[in-house]
């Protein structure tokens, strides 16, 4: 019991601590791919510390909701991120929320953040919020369709069960899984505001979404939101790894060597994921905001197609 609790706690801490590092890693890789030196790997940690030390400059017309939202967003994202198996499946509380609930947790983080964008009553906040909900209105169904496919193949929406099934030889090569993987990656790119949907590096461009929404935040509030953003990126990479590359997390027992193996495998998967993300982002241009629905429409159609295939025949 104590040991299970420790492993669960370690998982929560691991995602929290590794999240800024991962963001820094992707930034560094992108810079190197562009032949720039780039900031040091630990720059996101330094940024967070700097932000928490600064005072908060709060807009005069900001309400209590504006000050509560960073904590809500951070809490929802952290809980969602700690429920995804990273180095070890079957954690103590992994049954308390399945994949649908995890998506809904991310949805609530977005809901509150979009409200905060409207709170101060500026045009930039409004533009960010309205675009964010438009993107979400397509990304969420695509994500649910992906979940349907995976859940129908594994016979469960419980991530630990799905991960064990995906690691077993019973799964085989399936068309629907391939389609679901593409849909998931497209949604992950959109949800994290990466190129080509949004550019995490810009602040002043009329196509911006996420950055416009959090424009009025400063100090510790901004630190929490940035940390939640990093957590979300790690969450999606972990989710792809857990569903489609579950090697190293299904081993039974909580003996330290298996755990260490799992942790090493997880870090390796993160590194590969980060490298692919950086490569993808440097090789593509950002698209106009009204091309985004087409991009996400494709993801939704792929998800629906995958589900349909699975409904029509168990062997796809």
């Amino acid at each position: 019991m104590i040991r299970d609790l420790t492993v669960q706690g370690a998982q929560m801490l691991l995602v929290l601590l590794v999240a800024p590092l991962f963001t820094g890693f992707v930034r560094k890789l992108k810079a190197r791919l562009l032949r720039r030196q780039g900031p040091p790997l630990i720059q996101p940690y330094l940024d967070l510390i700097r932000l928490t030390r600064k005072e908060v400059v709060l807009a005069e017309q900001a309400s209590w909701l504006f000050r509560v939202v960073p904590y809500l967003v951070f809490a929802a994202t952290w809980v969602a991120a700690s429920l995804i198996p990273t180095f070890r499946a079957d954690l103590l509380f992994s049954w308390s929320a399945d994949l649908i609930a995890i998506i809904a947790l991310l949805g609530s983080a977005r809901f509150y953040l979009a409200l905060a964008g409207l709170d101060v009553g500026t045009s930039f906040g409004g533009i960010g919020s309205s675009r964010e909900v438009m993107i979400a209105s397509l990304a969420e169904p695509a994500m649910i369709m992906m979940v349907f496919t995976v859940a129908l193949i594994a016979g469960s929406t419980q991530l630990s069960t799905v991960a064990s099934f995906m690691a077993s030889p019973a799964v085989g090569l399936r068309v629907s899984l391939g389609l679901a993987l593409i849909a998931l990656i497209m949604v992950a790119i959109a949800e994290n505001g990466r190129i080509p949907i949004d550019n995490p590096a810009t602040h002043l461009e009329l196509t911006m979404v996420h950055e416009a929404m959090v424009l009025e935040y400063s100090g510790r509030h901004l630190a929490l939101i940035e940390l939640a953003g990093s957590l979300k990126l790690v969450l999606y990479v972990s989710l792809v790894a857990c569903l489609f590359a579950p090697w190293g997390i299904e081993a039974a027992g909580t003996a330290p060597p298996t755990l260490a193996l799992g942790a090493v495998a997880y870090l390796g998967k993160l590194a590969v994921g980060g490298f692919l993300l950086a490569l993808f982002e440097t090789s593509i241009a950002k698209m106009r905001v009204f091309r985004v629905p087409e991009f996400l429409g494709v993801a939704l159609m792929l998800g629906l197609l995958a589900t349909l295939l699975r409904f029509v025949s168990g062997s796809f």
Partner: protein, 669 residues
């Protein structure tokens, strides 16, 4: 005993209505009537809950009322007890709210009698056990709610709403009347007990189902029969809007469940396909309509249409599983649908109360004239936020719990043997996911534009917090939303007798599950624990707050908004309801509403303001209702001449009608 209490409270409400006619004009009438309603509905709620939770045997009684020699049959079984709980809880909340809100009513004598009578009508519909009593109560409920819609009859908009409502309500009752007529058969066995025992043939059952879908669906607001709903619900006083949207639409769901699952016999293969398709389309169309509104109450009314769609998706799945002999999956789907019925009655009432509080504080329903109310009405804003989060299906609140169950039911459907369903169910799942995501967008808009930002009118800037009774009602419902979301197992277990009565199976009991999680099928398949998710969120949020406030800077300075260095003092520069929905209008509206924008930019030097005009079409109204109304109008004009015939012409008309009828009879036999 419980049936007697429920009937006695209906009688008490009727007596209250008569009493309200007598004292309606006095100042004391409002607190007396609403106070008495709170009392009566609370007693009835306890009785209904006792019947449901005790899983007691159905109780029946025949009263010597109504049609001679037949009498009025009443019965309280698990299904009626559940819906009675929904009615009484909604009515309790509405009456409590109205203790404060009703004081602002300008013509209480036009509201009070009909309010009590409306509550009695809804109670009697769920208790009725024969077609006469049912239709009589149904029509009574429709007419009293119509009178409430017309309570401010000098507003031209309300008159139109009342007119459309009256036509649609009579049309719906007509469909139900025909349906019951078919089920009663040539012997005229009008009691539900006889219909249950009769096992109608497939053809009769099919007609009865379609007529029930039309009759009950038009009251529930199923697309395309929803046209009256967004007109009529907002026109009534807000506590009545809450009842009509939160509770009366559920009575329609009750009528559909009663007929489809119990009276119409064994389901045919295509029933579930029709119901699922209708549900999916209703869900998405309802939320898209809602997104395009900028009248707060009308937005909420359209959103009811979406939730009715979600409920019908659950009912369709239950029918599908029942058709193919999968009673446990059917029980899961029916539980999901009925749990959503309960949840929707909670949060929709809460949201309409919030809209009513905003209306009394500012005199505005138009969101474009609101804004910034969170500063001046903090408690209303808090309760309304809970309602918005619950209706957007965000964990750990109750809307998510029932939608999660619906998703779990969808995931069981590949086992269905029917090809039509194999293709349809994933599409309906996609529509459900789409409507859930759009609902969140819709309520970000509703809350953000109404309560956040800066006031867009002097009325919004001068608003004050609403009264204590209204706040108590809103906070009560907000608390209920949280409880139902955190402890869904309690409600699932309470629904078990309903499932058993209708389907012969129920979901596994949830109360024994550790940590109060819910496990619809098996633990390895899926589980959800609202309580733990809620505690985890509290803990991690609290931990973050603690760490930040201990380790980081606590300084805070108020300053003008940054807005990238160009803050504009005018509140007109904020996003409005229309502009917030613009991206979604561009993505979905161009197809669904043929939405278009025309920008008129004056040339340089011209001092006219630039104008942006948005054009949208309600295609259902334009292609279905308007031509129909046109045809009826033209036909009425033509037939109008029949009023001005001579006596000889009238007599010959009567004579020829008689001859034709006799000929028909002769040929027929």
């Amino acid at each position: 005993m419980t049936l007697a209490v429920a009937l006695a409270s209906a009688a008490a409400l009727l007596a209250l209505a008569v009493f309200a006619v007598a004292i309606g004009r006095s100042a004391a009438a409002t607190p007396i009537i609403y106070g008495a309603s709170v009392f009566v509905t609370a007693i009835s709620l306890v009785a209904a809950a006792a019947q449901l939770l005790g899983a007691a045997e159905p109780l029946g009684v025949t009263l010597p009322l109504g049609v001679p020699w037949i009498g009025a049959h009443f019965r309280l079984d698990a299904l009626s007890a559940f819906f009675l709980v929904v009615v009484d809880f909604g009515a309790l909340g509405a009456s409590l709210f109205a203790l404060g809100y009703g004081a602002h009513e300008t013509a209480p004598q036009r509201v009070l009698p009909f309010y009590a009578a409306f509550l009695a009508g809804m109670t009697l519909v769920v208790l009725a056990d024969d077609a006469f009593t049912f239709l009589l109560s149904w029509e009574f409920m429709s007419l009293t709610s119509w009178a409430l819609v017309m309570s401010h009859h000098r507003v031209p908009e309300n008159v139109r709403a009342g007119y459309v409502y009256l036509i649609m309500a009579s049309f719906g009752t007509l469909a139900l009347l025909l349906g019951f007529g078919l089920l009663a058969g040539p012997d005229g066995s009008y009691t539900f007990a006889a219909m249950r025992a009769a096992h109608p043939s497939a053809t009769i059952g099919a007609f009865a189902l379609i007529l029930a879908l039309i009759g009950a669906g038009s009251k529930a607001g199923v697309v395309p029969l929803h046209a009256w709903l967004p007109l009529a619900h907002p026109a009534a006083p807000s506590h009545v809007s809450a009842l009509m949207s939160g509770v009366m639409t559920k009575i329609a769901v009750y009528a559909f469940v009663r007929i489809a699952f119990e009276l119409a016999g064994a389901p045919s293969w295509w029933w579930s396909i029709v119901v699922l398709a209708v549900g999916g389309i209703t869900a998405v169309m309802g939320v898209l309509y809602a997104l395009m509104q900028h009248d707060l109450k009308r937005l909420l009314a359209y959103h009811t249409v979406e939730n009715i769609g979600i409920i019908f998706i659950g009912l369709g799945l239950a029918l599908a599983f029942q058709t193919y002999g999968m009673p446990f999956a059917a029980a899961l789907s029916l539980t999901a649908a009925l749990f959503h019925v309960f949840n929707h009655s909670l949060f929709k009432s809460l949201l309409f109360f919030g809209a009513g509080a905003v209306l009394t504080a500012t005199g505005e329903r138009d969101m474009e004239h609101l804004g910034g109310l969170i500063h001046r009405m903090p408690q209303t804003a808090f309760a309304f936020l809970i309602g918005c989060a619950a209706i957007s299906a965000l964990p750990p609140l109750n809307g998510f719990a029932s939608e999660w169950l619906t998703f779990q039911a969808i995931l069981l459907s590949p086992d269905l043997p029917s090809w039509g369903l194999k293709i349809l169910v994933p599409a309906v799942g996609a529509l459900l996911a789409l409507s859930a995501a759009l609902a969140a967008a819709c309520f970000v808009k509703a809350y953000g534009v109404t309560f956040l930002g800066r006031p867009r009118s002097p009325a919004a800037a001068a608003a004050t917090e609403t009264d204590g009774f209204s706040l108590a009602a809103m906070l009560l419902l907000a608390a209920a939303c949280l409880v139902a979301g955190v402890l869904p197992g309690l409600f699932i277990d309470a629904l078990a007798p309903v499932d058993t009565a209708l389907l012969g199976a129920h979901m596994p009991p949830q109360l024994g599950v550790p940590w109060l999680a819910i496990i619809p099928i098996t633990a390895s398949r899926s589980s959800y624990d609202g309580l733990l998710v809620f505690l985890f969120m509290l803990m991690s949020g609290g931990l973050a707050a603690f760490a930040i406030h201990r380790l980081a800077s606590n300084r805070l300075r108020r300053a003008p908004a940054w807005d990238c260095g160009y803050p504009d003092a005018s509140p007109a520069t904020q996003y409005t309801a229309m502009s917030f929905a613009q991206p979604i209008r561009r993505v979905f509206g161009t197809m669904v509403f043929r939405a278009g924008e025309t920008a008129e930019m004056p040339p340089p030097g011209d001092t006219r303001p630039a104008r942006l005009a948005v054009e949208m079409h309600d295609l259902i109204w334009e292609t279905l209702y308007a031509p129909l109304a046109n045809v009826i109008g033209v036909a009425a004009d033509r037939l109008n001449r029949l009023q001005f015939l001579t006596i000889r012409q009238f007599l010959s008309l009567v004579f020829s009608a008689l001859v034709i009828l006799l000929l028909v009879l002769a040929v027929w036999s």
